[in-house]
Amino acid sequence: MKLQQATRYAIWAVIELASRPDEQIRAQELAQTYRISQTHLVRILHALTKAKIVNSARGPGGGFSFCGDAKRLTLYDIICLFETGWPKEENQDLQAGNALTNELARVLHEVDRLTSATLRSVTVRTIINNAERSSISRRRTATDLAP
């Protein structure tokens, strides 16, 4: 699935901030972590602040922090903020046409339905928890393989 750069940056930023709930993180640090443009990232963080997903604090010790509900906020919610044409209207592709275009539209709708269902079911907390699980599992495997 191809997402716009801004959408990918927004997802990374939200997940990073949500995984460090008691920290104020500077845009500079986030930009360095993901090797992305700080100017671009700041614009994205402001959009996330406006959407009440992220808080910003000025001054020394200031930065950005996650203020949403990680157990409720899904990838779909974040994508809808940044991708044009989202959320997709039901049967948006089903236009009056011949049998061939209708069949093609049906297939594209099938893909959209699965994509939407997947994105709606993955919360920020799920991403963080699954990443922790994989990391624990990798560490166990490394320990088991150690001589």
Binding site: P21, A70, K71, T74, A117, T118, S121, T123, T126, N130
Partner: protein, 161 residues
């Protein structure tokens, strides 16, 4: 307490004492009622048939969760082969928790118990098929670590005879 700790602590504080057990014949009518409330339609015949099979099938698991004597949740699973090239695996057929008892980790406990039964029987993977529009259930299953497997369900109408 950190926000993450609060997130985890909140449901536990509200949790009442819940016991998990294999379903007994005496649980059937309560289970049918609860399933109907959750699903929105009755599957009484399905459950009755299942309880008949259960006596002769040691790899079919029906677990129930009780709180203050009331049946508040269930999980149904089976270890079985599948007619595609895949090892025998555990199948999750149904999971449900009474609305008033949700967010208390009862479904997680039921799944954990079911997976433990699967493991005890040498099974290493669990699969399930769910409604693509049931975002709540899909979200729960993903939250416990499940993700898309290598199979896709396809269907077509064959018409009436």
């Amino acid at each position: 307490m950190t926000r993450r700790a609060k997130e985890k602590k909140a449901p536990a504080e509200r949790r009442q004492s819940v016991t998990l057990a294999d379903a007994a014949a005496s649980d059937l009518s309560e289970l049918i009622d609860l399933d109907e409330k959750i699903a929105g339609y009755s599957r009484a015949d399905f459950w009755r048939d299942l309880f008949r099979q259960k006596a002769a099938n040691s790899t079919l698991f029906v677990l129930v969760a009780r709180s203050s004597g009331l049946l508040v949740g269930y999980a149904l699973g089976e270890i079985r082969s599948w007619p595609v090239r895949t090892p025998v695996c555990g199948w999750l057929y149904a999971i449900g928790v009474k609305k008033s008892h949700r967010l208390q980790k009862i479904a997680t406990a039921l799944m954990s118990e079911l997976f433990s039964r699967f493991r005890q029987n040498g099974v290493e993977a669990v699969r399930t098929v769910i409604d693509v529009d049931d975002h709540l259930l899909m979200s729960f299953l993903r939250s416990i670590g499940m993700s898309a497997g290598p199979f896709v369900e396809l269907e077509m109408a064959v018409g009436k005879s």
